[in-house]
């Protein structure tokens, strides 16, 4: 290979309690090229990037930069080595203006004491002009659109004059025109010799901009190749595993009558013009597993939250089991028979300070009431034991803290908590995110068994393989709208990817 390797990760392993996030991964960054890193959620992309950027430290393995071993202990050290990162989540201070954000912790000063606002603003204006954004450097970041904020984030990285720039899904919040500008800037940076690491889920996009591609799956390096030598099919195959779709064959389950019916649900954005959810209608039958597929910002999580009564949406009608759902109180919805297994286990699913037992019964406390408003300890224990057994949760004692469990078992506790409310419909948001392969299959089995018992299951996943493997029916969403429905038979990876890109411009041309 003729291109120079500027940085090289060698046998990098990262172990979190309960999961191996990276397993002896090698990764090359070619100088002055766009190095695409791709893989499904939980494949280890972000972990690898965090190690490069000094946010996390590898458990074992080493990183070489121009032949020198480096081990940045924090982002500042990484920056000094010339490695910058643009995170997927925005890391801006909304209470400060654009130029202050761009130069935060790298302030231009007069004599090392006073901030030279004029110099900062001048430089900021220059950077923004390069990004073709007519944003005044004095604008408060809070007053910018999300897409513009992303541009500021990019300007911030450019201001550092790094030699390696990591971009973690930089386009997820950008409009098509903004994406074009970003690509132009990336080409410009390349010409200046900056090496880019580019993470994205949007396949068409990275076919357009990438030079090299590296594919991770479940923490392992799967393949690396120059992009000109490969096609979309090769990428998808490697990403999800060869012929991986539909290898999981769910046990047969009978599909009954419509149990949940949503008609014309619209959720307006708080400030912006586009609706977060736009006229969404769908049906779910008893015993049916329906997968919701879509890219980030498709509105899947928001749909679930609306169904739990969390947002002020408009809908013609939402019926559960023949009854209208009207109350916006979560506990009323749960009583009616709908329950959510949230996307982010740590942030939304579990109370870290509580025991396994207390987490599991949190949503169904009123089921164990005895005299004097008190809880019947035996009833509680029986219920918890039952589900620990049924879900085969591996634990030594239900009174231990929830954090003593592995990711997969924690997820099962969240599922157990939901099942203890006796739901008719279960909403599962990324139910297998961040858990290992064995546990994933267990979660699949649980879903199928629940369907066999007549529960309707609506689940969200960004993992193609997962959606294809387990769904009886697949609904694809994009930008808040339902784009298409696929039956299990007619669904293919290609078709789902294409449908999910509707409205995303760059890909829609195909």
């Amino acid at each position: 290979m003729s291109d120079n390797i500027i940085a090289h990760a060698e046998q990098v392993t990262k172990i979190y309690p309960g999961t191996v996030a990276l397993n002896k991964v090698d990764f090359n960054i070619y100088e002055g090229k766009v190095n695409v890193l791709i893989g499904e959620n939980g494949a280890g992309k972000s972990t690898l990037m965090k190690i490069l950027a000094g946010v996390e430290q590898a458990t074992s393995g080493r990183i070489l930069l121009k032949g020198q071993e480096i081990a940045p202990r924090n982002p500042r050290e990484a920056e000094q080595l010339g490695i910058g990162i643009i995170y997927q989540e925005l890391n801006l201070f909304p209470n400060m203006n654009v130029s202050e954000n761009i130069f935060v912790s790298h302030e231009k000063t007069l004599g090392g004491v006073v901030i030279d606002h004029r110099a900062q603003e001048k430089k900021a204006e220059e950077l923004l002009r390069r990004l073709e954004q007519p944003i005044s450097p004095k604008t408060l970041v809070a007053d910018l659109r999300i897409g513009q904020q992303q541009i500021v984030e990019i300007a911030k990285a450019l201001a550092l004059e790094v030699q390696i720039l990591i971009m973690d899904e930089p386009t997820s919040a950008l409009s098509n025109a903004e994406v074009e500008v970003l690509f132009r800037v990336i080409r410009e940076l390349k010409a200046q010799g900056v090496s880019i690491v580019y993470i994205s889920h949007k396949l068409e996009e990275l076919m357009q901009i990438g030079d090299y591609i590296t594919i991770l799956r479940d923490g392992n390096l799967i393949a690396e190749s120059p992009l000109e030598d490969v096609d979309l099919k090769w990428i998808v195959d490697n990403m999800v595993g060869r012929d991986a779709s539909k290898t999981y064959e769910p046990a047969p389950h009978d599909i009954g009558d419509v149990i949940l019916s949503v008609k014309n649900l619209t959720l307006p954005a708080p400030h912006g013009k586009d609706n977060i959810l736009d006229d969404v209608s769908l049906d779910l039958r008893a015993g049916e597993i329906v997968g919701l597929y879509g890219l980030m910002g498709a509105g899947r999580t928001e749909l679930f939250e609306c169904l739990m009564g969390l947002h002020p949406y408009h809908a013609t009608e939402i019926m559960l089991d023949g009854k209208k759902m009207q109350s916006h109180v979560v506990s009323d919805r749960i009583d009616q028979g709908i329950m959510l297994v949230p996307e982010d286990r740590q942030r939304e699913g579990l109370v870290q300070t509580l025991s396994i037992h207390d987490n599991m019964i949190l949503a169904s406390l009123q089921h164990y009431l005895a005299r004097l408003l008190s809880l019947n300890a035996k009833k509680e224990q029986d219920a918890v034991r039952q589900y620990v057994h049924d879900l085969s949760i591996k634990l030594s004692n239900t009174r231990n803290l929830i954090s003593s469990l592995s990711g997969g078992n924690q997820q099962k506790v969240v599922v157990g908590k939901a099942l203890l409310t006796n739901p008719r419909v279960l909403l599962m948001d990324e139910p297998t995110r961040g858990i290992d392969v064995g546990a994933k299959e267990e979660i699949f089995n649980i879903m199928v068994q629940l369907a066999q018992q007549g529960l309707g299951i609506l689940f969200v996943s960004t993992e193609l393989k997962e959606v294809l493997a387990i769904s009886d029916r697949i609904i694809v969403m994009s930008k808040g709208r339902v784009i298409r429905e696929f039956s299990r038979e007619e669904a293919t990876e290609q078709a789902l990817v294409e449908a999910s890109a509707v409205g995303h411009g760059v890909a829609a041309a195909h």
């Binding site: 309690p17 309960g18 999961t19 739990m308 109180v329 979560v330 506990s331 919805r333 749960i334 009583d335 959510l340 949230p342 942030r347 939304e348 699913g349 579990l350 109370v351 870290q352 300070t353 509580l354 207390d358 019964i361 949190l362 949503a363 406390l365 009123q366 009431l369 408003l373 008190s374 809880l375 039952q386 049924d390 879900l391 085969s392 591996k394 634990l395 030594s396 231990n400 803290l401 954090s403 003593s404 469990l405 592995s406 997969g408 078992n409 908590k417 409310t421 290992d436 064995g438 546990a439 299959e441 267990e442 089995n445 649980i446 068994q449 629940l450 018992q453």
Partner: protein, 352 residues
């Protein structure tokens, strides 16, 4: 019922391994308030002969009861991740309410009459006033999204102002009532005793039992812990976060009013400045008892121990004739030490 087939990954087994030393260390750290209490008791018992006398212990527990009762309410608030700075002012206001009702009665100007209530009704009204102030705290915090620190700081001023306003800064003296008006007996609350223990101590015992029951045995208690641990997860689990949070301030208001009654009764007078800085003592008791100011972790019983630690420390230092200025310094050091150890425990748990 469902049943999953696959066996779990081998990684699980590793997490519960722990060396014996670490276990003992952990137990010692988690029982630190208890240990501190016994060390203090032992120390003062040895160095001062009058410490273990019955009369001193009664004085000691009477002092502790005040702080402990406030601490009980404060524990619920802090468990949700909040704080209640208004308790001291509610103590003062409650005393004034009771004092006014006994000495001056309820004046209904429109009808030109004055109603004097039976002491039991005076107590009930005072407690309701305390709960109402707590309710106001709760409404400001949960409905208007004001930070608990700010909301209760504001109410601290408002309640103190009301207490001062009620008698133009003066004291309601001699709260004995009169036989003709049928409102005698108020001083009995502070002066009376049962089985050798003052009523205030019994109130502390009963409230402690009740609070432990609520915290451990009722859905409300569990939900308080859940909110403090992860409000979002609690909300998604159907916990009525606002309602539960609001209730904790009502409980705190109730406890404060109870203390206000006890003190007014003990002094047989209601002074509007009563209870100043009591909120800080209550918070100190809660924190010493191992409750995390971040919410979600802690126990009512720990708070009681914490209140005893402070009480024993103060009482012992007084008996030893330590300068009262030095006493304040030592109390401060002990509180900081307790929180440092608290952080240590959190880190130990995370490492596990």
């Amino acid at each position: 019922m469902i049943k999953a087939k696959n066996d779990m990954s081998h990684l699980d087994g590793q997490t519960t391994q722990n060396s014996g030393l670490a276990v003992i260390g952990k137990i010692l750290v988690s029982m630190r308030a208890f240990i501190a209490l016994f060390l203090l008791l032992g120390y003062f018992a040895i160095v001062n002969d009058s410490f273990l006398t019955q009369s001193n212990l009664v004085i000691l527990t009477k002092q502790v009861a005040i702080n402990a009762i406030l601490g009980i309410g404060m524990t619920f608030v802090i468990l949700t991740g909040g704080i209640d700075l208004s308790v001291g002012s509610i103590v003062g206001l409650a005393g004034m309410v009771a004092g006014a009702l006994i000495n001056e009665g309820l004046i209904l100007e429109i009808f030109g009459i004055v109603i004097y209530f039976n002491v039991w009704i005076v107590i009930a009204i005072t407690l309701i006033v305390g709960m109402f102030i707590g309710l106001v705290n709760g409404v400001i915090i949960t409905r208007f999204n004001v930070a608990p620190f700010i909301a209760t700081l504001g109410i601290l001023y408002v309640a103190r102002g009301l207490a001062l306003l009620s008698a133009n800064g003066a004291t309601f003296p001699n709260l004995v009532g009169s036989v003709e008006l049928g409102n005698t007996g108020f001083p009995e609350l502070g002066a009376g005793s049962l089985l050798g223990l003052p009523y205030s101590v019994w109130i502390m015992v009963v409230l402690t039992i009740l609070a432990v029951f609520i915290a451990r045995k009722t859905p409300f208690g569990r939900q308080v812990y859940a909110i403090g641990g992860n409000e979002r997860a609690a909300q998604l689990s159907g916990v009525r976060v606002k309602r539960v949070t609001l209730l904790t301030y009502v409980i705190s208001g109730f406890c404060s009013a109870m203390v206000g009654l006890i003190i007014a009764s003990q002094l047989v007078a209601a002074h509007p400045a009563t209870g100043e800085t009591f909120e800080l003592n209550a918070i100190a008791a809660v924190v010493l008892g191992g409750t995390s100011l971040a919410g979600g972790r802690g126990t009512v019983f720990g708070t009681i121990i914490g209140a005893f630690v402070i009480g024993v420390l103060r009482n012992g230092m007084v008996l030893e004739g330590l300068s009262s200025f030095l006493q304040i310094i030592i109390t401060g050091v002990v509180i900081i030490l307790a929180v440092v150890i608290d952080q240590l425990q959190v880190r130990l748990q995370q490492r596990q």
